[in-house]
Structure formats: structure tokens, C-alpha cells
Symmetry: C2
Subunit: 329 residues, 2 copies
Amino acid sequence: MGHGGGGQLSAELVQHVFAPAFGGEVLADLADSAAVTLGGARLAFSTDSFVVRPLFFPGGSIGDLAVNGTVNDLAMSGAAAAFLSCAFILEEGVELSCVARVAEALGAAARTAGVQIATGDTKVVESGHGDGVYINTAGIGLIPDGVDIRPQRARPGDVVIVSGDIGVHGVAVMSVREGLEFGVRIESDCAALGGLVATMLAVTPDVHVLRDPTRGGLAAALGEIAAAAGVGVAITERDVPVPDEVANACAVLGLDPMYVANEGKLVAFVPPEHADAVLDAMRAHPLGARAAVIGECVAEHPGMVVARTGLGGTRVVDLPLGEQLPRIC
Amino acid sequence: MGHGGGGQLSAELVQHVFAPAFGGEVLADLADSAAVTLGGARLAFSTDSFVVRPLFFPGGSIGDLAVNGTVNDLAMSGAAAAFLSCAFILEEGVELSCVARVAEALGAAARTAGVQIATGDTKVVESGHGDGVYINTAGIGLIPDGVDIRPQRARPGDVVIVSGDIGVHGVAVMSVREGLEFGVRIESDCAALGGLVATMLAVTPDVHVLRDPTRGGLAAALGEIAAAAGVGVAITERDVPVPDEVANACAVLGLDPMYVANEGKLVAFVPPEHADAVLDAMRAHPLGARAAVIGECVAEHPGMVVARTGLGGTRVVDLPLGEQLPRIC
């Protein structure tokens, strides 16, 4: 399971199995989406499969995730998603009404995100193989002129900003999973971030890094950026916005909110001279109302994320090995 | 199972469930790939999931199919595939050596097809869910200027050409499936058709329709074209190239080669004034050596495919309802 969790084991699978076999330079970039040039157009191109259980959870569904996950991967290159592909793997015997509900949620999410579903595919596998509904989406979008957002561009001095509360989506999905129910109603904050990113880029095209902290949570996102750019990241734990319900649920379950998946949040590395203006713009957007500075990029401890704890000490924030909670995207 | 078979049930799923939910105009085109414009570039965009069993079969593997299937969908718009996304859904416990073999086959097929794997994703589902390895690929490629290839462009008078022997891939996969082995060694002819299509377009950009007769076979491909363009298609059964081994295997199993899936073959509708030159160009290409004219597009019986049989009679070639053989792509 760990190899799909977005942590170290996932990274090893890509580095040791897929990258050598595929031999791609673009793939080696390790960004959420690839930047490619075709017919003179600079495009972001990304894909994600969705295997979340249950298919419907408070605040969303696999259909919302399938749209927002790929739209957000594109947004992390600064691109507005223009077209999505959508491929279903259905298990024989799944209720058509369930497929229709998922499709309706997916279509509604696409309209909200302003992206068009351009092409699709459906496969059916025998009952007992597959798992009801799996969805893959791939997306393409134009990268605006002058925008060059990649993990490698993190620089010492950059201000690290998150767009809002973390851990909400992961805990929302977990809260309805068989055997893990607990007495809190937390709704997923799953959302498409293209509009928020456009708002930020209107302040300055020189945003250095954007990342949506999905699988592996904020810890994995920061760790990957530190490793890719060869910089250190220093954050202040108490500045990371974690809602009380999420903190309580995590305490009960022995989880660290830093490692819980999100969908609908982003972390940004912004040059210090633009940080205040970008933060103001984010807070003026509905999806960035609770945006906060959580730390900075430093020259010390390259490749490593260090958190100042509430007690005044520091701790190393490791890249998670596997995943705390499987199948939440 | 029938809803994933590429026949009538698949079409109904798209028309009644997905199209209304997604509300896409591009999707309604029903071509193998969508033609979209982005940043001034005219792009073909397509996706396919691959759930074939077994993962390795004579002449190929799920890795080859995952590349060639999407490359060929793009080629059916006249586009040379430039970039692929590649997403794996792995079942917990699948051997990493098996994943590596699949990845190597996939990488090799991409190099042969001249396409770059630009972005990827890996998910792992619990043991007992999923089925070893599922792969989704999506692809983008440039559509050359002056090329407008779509099912709707079929016109009475068009000459119908297939690029070679049909039914080979489907029978090859079936020949190694548990319980269906029979004493023939047939290798899959799975191949990337971008080069063959470029050869044809060098003769004339005015090829009207291209289609790779995958799920549902040649019968479904011709039926869909007839329906999309509101034309009739008349073919001569004995002119359809079917190798003896395929014909024999189909006879034993009670299958019709017209409905068996292919991957690495195409059917073309070409204006009569260009047909001879296009056929000559195809035959000069390794993947078109056994290309043959199998019939023509007619104004009679719109939406219907009619075959002249060996006995001098005619029969209607129906769109298959479901699928003769599940999971061969």
C-alpha cells in the first residue's frame, strides 16, 4: 500500500522503476504537472487516478475529486485547466444509478472549475475485480507567459504561505470510513484552485513554487520542494492553520495533521518582496480567506524541513514513508 | 460487462449517462480522440484505460497496448502523438518485478512510437480490489494543417480500406487465456500507427475518416461511422483480409472475425480520386503491406453496414450489443 501513498515509497517507485523504463526528462521534473511545448503553445499536462472509498463522503465525492485533483495539478504550474479526459473503470454489477450520480458530480465540478470534459473511455472489469468505480482524469491547460512555477525555483528568503486550513479533506473521508467513524461532522473542503492561483498571479507572475499538499499532506509537499531545490524549509508549527475538529480527530487517531491529505489547499513559495501583496490577494478570494504565512525558505539544512514547535524547540519533519490513510484520493 | 465492450451498450452509457452529465460538445463528437484548440494550437486529445488479462500475451503486453492504444486514437485524427500521461493502479501485493516488466514494455513501446511520457501517477488499492495492474494513458498531439478527419466526413463514393489482417490481436490474447487455449500460436499485431497515417496524409490531407477497429472489431468501427455520417457502408466479405489461423480459431469458438478486437490496424474512408495512391502508399509501409479495399461508402441504407457474402447474398452487419471477448485492451 505504501508505494501508492505519495511518500518515500512512492518516490522510490518512480525513481527506480518508472523513470528508468520511460527515460523521460520531463517526468524527472517531479512537479504535479509537466510543462510541455506543442505547436508553439506552452502547456501544462497532468494525470491522476482516483480510488477513494467511500465514493461519497461529507462535502464531496470521487467525481469532485477527479475534476479538482487534476485541475489543481495544472494550477500548480500556473495553468488554467482547459480540457479534461475522463476514464472510468467500472466493476461489473455496480449500480448504474451510482455511476450516474458520480458522473453528475463530476460534470458539476467541471462546470464550477470552468473546464471542459473533452474525451473519455469506459472499461468494465469482472465482478470481484476492480472496486465499484475507479476514475482517471488527465488535463491540459495553457501556462501564461512569464510564469515559471516549479519546485526547483524555491530560493532562500521565499515566504511559505498556505491557502487555508489543512487536514480537512483527509479527516472528512476518514470520518465516514467503516470502523473509523467518530463523533465529528467534518466536510471535505475539496475545491478547484484555478481561480485562486489566477488571483495570485495577477499580483506577480513571479511566484516561485505552488504545490497542492494531497497525499502525504503538507509534510510531503514541503519535503519534496526542499529536496528538489536543495534548500531548507523552516516552518512554525503554531502558524499552520489546523481546525480544532481536525486536531481533535487526529489526536484520537494518533495522526499528525501535517501528514493528512488535502484537496483544495495549496502551499506557495513567494519572493519576500511580493509576499504581503500575494497574501492579501489570497485572503480576498473565497478559497484563500484563511491563508497564512507558515514559514520561510532557508539556506541551512538543504533538503530538510524543520518545524519550530510550540514549546520553542525544533523537530525535523520527515517525508512520510508510506501513507497514514490509504485511498483518500 | 457489455457496457464496457465498445458496442451498443457502451454507446448507450455514453449517450444516456455521461454526455448529459458532462454536457460537452466535444465529447458528443464520438471520435477516437477529441480535436481541441489551445493557445492557437490544434490538438488531438484522447484517453484509454487498459485492463487486459493476461498482462503478457504472445506478441505484446498491457504496456504495449497502453502506448499504442492512445497513440492510435490520436493518429485517427491525423495527429502524431507527442506526449503521453501514464497512470498505474496497482493491486497491493503485485510483484514489483512484474510492474517493472510492464513499465519496461511501456517505455520501449513509447520509444518505438516516438512519443514522450511526460507525466504519471501511481495508486495502490488493497489486495483483492483491483486486479494486478491497470493502466490509463492520455495523449496529446498536433493535428496537421488542412487535416480534418472525423467519422462525420464519410461521403458516398468514399473507398473503404483496411490496413491489413483483422482479428489477430483479439485471437492472440484469447489464445492464452485460461480455459480458452487452443493449438495455434498467433502473435498480437499490436503496433503504433502514427507513421502509417503520416504516410497516407503525405499522399493527400483529404482523408475523410480513420478509425482503429479495437473493441467491437471492424463491425463496430464501420457501424459507428455509418451512423455518425448518415451514410451506408457496403463491404465485400471475401475482400476483408482474415488470416487462416484467425478464421479457424473463430470457427472453433463460434466467433465472427468482424467483431474481434484489433490494435495496430486501421480502416480508412478515402475519396475515390485518391484511393489508389493512398493504397499504394500504405502497401509500401511495413504496417500496411496487406492493406486492401474492402468496400465503399454508399447513399443507400444510411446508418447501416451491409456485407456481400461469399455466396452472392447480402447480410446486415449489426453493431455488436456487448463484446465477444472481454478485457482484450
